[in-house]
Assembly symmetry: D3
Homo-oligomer: 163 residues x 6
Amino acid sequence: MTRIATYPGTFDPVTFGHVDVVERAAELFDSVVVTVAINPSKKPLFTAEERVRFLSDALARFENVRVDSFEGLTVDHARSVGAAAVIRGLRAVTDFEYEFQMALMNRKLAEEINTVFLMPNEKYTYLNSSMARNLAQFGAPIDEFVPAAAAKALREKFGEPNG
Amino acid sequence: MTRIATYPGTFDPVTFGHVDVVERAAELFDSVVVTVAINPSKKPLFTAEERVRFLSDALARFENVRVDSFEGLTVDHARSVGAAAVIRGLRAVTDFEYEFQMALMNRKLAEEINTVFLMPNEKYTYLNSSMARNLAQFGAPIDEFVPAAAAKALREKFGEPNG
Amino acid sequence: MTRIATYPGTFDPVTFGHVDVVERAAELFDSVVVTVAINPSKKPLFTAEERVRFLSDALARFENVRVDSFEGLTVDHARSVGAAAVIRGLRAVTDFEYEFQMALMNRKLAEEINTVFLMPNEKYTYLNSSMARNLAQFGAPIDEFVPAAAAKALREKFGEPNG
Amino acid sequence: MTRIATYPGTFDPVTFGHVDVVERAAELFDSVVVTVAINPSKKPLFTAEERVRFLSDALARFENVRVDSFEGLTVDHARSVGAAAVIRGLRAVTDFEYEFQMALMNRKLAEEINTVFLMPNEKYTYLNSSMARNLAQFGAPIDEFVPAAAAKALREKFGEPNG
Amino acid sequence: MTRIATYPGTFDPVTFGHVDVVERAAELFDSVVVTVAINPSKKPLFTAEERVRFLSDALARFENVRVDSFEGLTVDHARSVGAAAVIRGLRAVTDFEYEFQMALMNRKLAEEINTVFLMPNEKYTYLNSSMARNLAQFGAPIDEFVPAAAAKALREKFGEPNG
Amino acid sequence: MTRIATYPGTFDPVTFGHVDVVERAAELFDSVVVTVAINPSKKPLFTAEERVRFLSDALARFENVRVDSFEGLTVDHARSVGAAAVIRGLRAVTDFEYEFQMALMNRKLAEEINTVFLMPNEKYTYLNSSMARNLAQFGAPIDEFVPAAAAKALREKFGEPNG
């Protein structure tokens, strides 16, 4: 039996925390689809194409991982790729509450798909895309926090003050 | 590749919330080992043998699930059965904090084993073994909350006032 | 002695979670005033008139409930209708923190009015207006989540893809 | 229509935080029954009779409040006095999680009885019976924290070092 | 050895909760620099100059406190003034999560600077700048919540309905 | 002006998380008194003398740190050594709630003493004395988690299975 999981997110841009979650998911499932969620009512810093490119670049070494994007409900995408699970990373209590509600709603919409929560390495507890963007905005070094392609794009976006 | 998960717990006694988590785990892994943790410094209501029996009775219908018990570290047991994952159910924020710390410690002790958090049906949010014991103590009906063998034993333990 | 309670909110739009809270409040108080809070600095999806209409439609069966709207401080409105209590629904820990702060501030402003927290059915834990809007935006079925008039309006707003 | 509420608790002993909650409940309900919960598996500092006496002493000024004790399920007691609501005080997030679970379980056992959460004055945020006992144990002044009869008994219990 | 602490924030505008934190910091450190954080991607109600002025007015009585502003990373500013610590006020659990993540990130960027959390008086638990702005918007009295210069400016901003 | 801080705790036994907090406190204060709290109603694994010895051993390298023990209220001890601050480590949200309540109570008892919260390195998030005892009980390696003298004593206590 082949088990597929999706890992949906905004990934604006991907951080090493996301990569850490993907690595764990890739060990637990036969195939993992990392999916850039396109939400017309939000204004991300990077386009969906850019976000897919940064992920593809960062995740190329995982043989059973592929990257795509979708606009719509997480569970519709999960169903369309035949996923048994939706992966979410949990870093903190605040994450948990929101994720819990999303997971309950997704279960309501698609009872057969389970949300699976994985925990990134604790050294990524403090890290999310928003914090990476803030650091880049003020010229702080970001190579420890986001993969190379995303880091380069962040520096270009904000004038590469410490490039 | 065969993926094995363990689901350790006190299970004093098993509730339908636990069964719900097992059902989800059994869909995501090739094999699930539900494990009664024996802790000499705690005094459970039921012996390890009883707790294993209640679980075996409640989980008999799952072909890829078996029940055992162990005394020692969760990760040592997980390694001994070749598990890639340790399953934990998450019901609430308070759960989460403790589970998060245990998961980090377990990762420290066995980097190759991931903790996987699953969420039981929301109708089991209010349910744990302690609450089931309290209900039984005061003669409340418990058949909706714990599987048959455990319910029978709880009623016998507390004088079966509403048997 | 007649006891009146207000239940203020944005209700953009009303969900079955809100209706569940109203039903409980209507049992505990002689009269309940459900109040659409008008905040000029926010941009709701529906106008105050629409939100009042959806509520009136959903709550018509409760004899001791009426719907109105107000612009200003919650406690000023509560005082103007002679309320002894302000009702708030609590679904989750995140709710709680914000609600706690609002309740403390309201007590500071009007010591004689108590905030009363009620808990909707756990099946509405995952449900709020924002989630209902998201579902509608992506064409998911919403009739289980929001009352008829609001559901119809949501479908019209977002092109009624699954109408 | 007469509306009755119960306010169950261990009250070991009553604090001014409890009194504050009773005062609010007494304004919202026609009659309030404050109930000392007797749990044979716990070992309180004071007997049920003492706890009832301290409460009666502290609450004598409220005309629509009476004090009793019970052994059994909260909802069975609530039903036996014809209560429409069970009152609980909420001081903090940790309170909330436990209370939420108890409230859900109670609703499961008695759908017609609602749990109503009230918030004591913020100056009692730090106060519970356990902390009062600790203060008394180390001879700290406690008259600001517990009503007179309970304070006297605490001092006697611990050798009245600052009597 | 002279120990300096910075207390960065948006202060839009300063509240008595902030003043309370400054007072505590001023007792624990030889020198405290209260710093208005300038974030080009946010739109505060008051300009940085106004926010500095309100703070200077409110904090004039503290001899070892001075006020400035900065645009950039908190830790860069802390380093530039030779600070050993960054002060943050903690009022509630929600505060804590965000503050915890910021503190971890700041430590990553500047290991030698510690974040020190102080707790304002519990009577300010409900108070933040956003709530003060809301009160002013609806004409509620604000003199208990924000220092004189800020209160005056808030009233002017919102038409001084209760001036 | 000389500023003294106390850091009270059970320290049963000291972990590297505690040491990390002491190190930070020693940079921020002129003198730090680490204090083993003696509570006659608790049954620690190690005697107060042992706990003091483990701390003294682990903290010998800090010139401005000394270790003592006390029985009574934290604030009474803090006053007796002339402390301006009580240090507490914060690792997680659950910590925070309890610490917040203790800090408010301590402020009530001694307004002039501030509780100062410090955050240990995130690698100690998962670590507390109870977890260290559990690891030792099951023969897991503990040298990464507790200082040498405490680790040796834990191994002796539990039969030194991996000594």
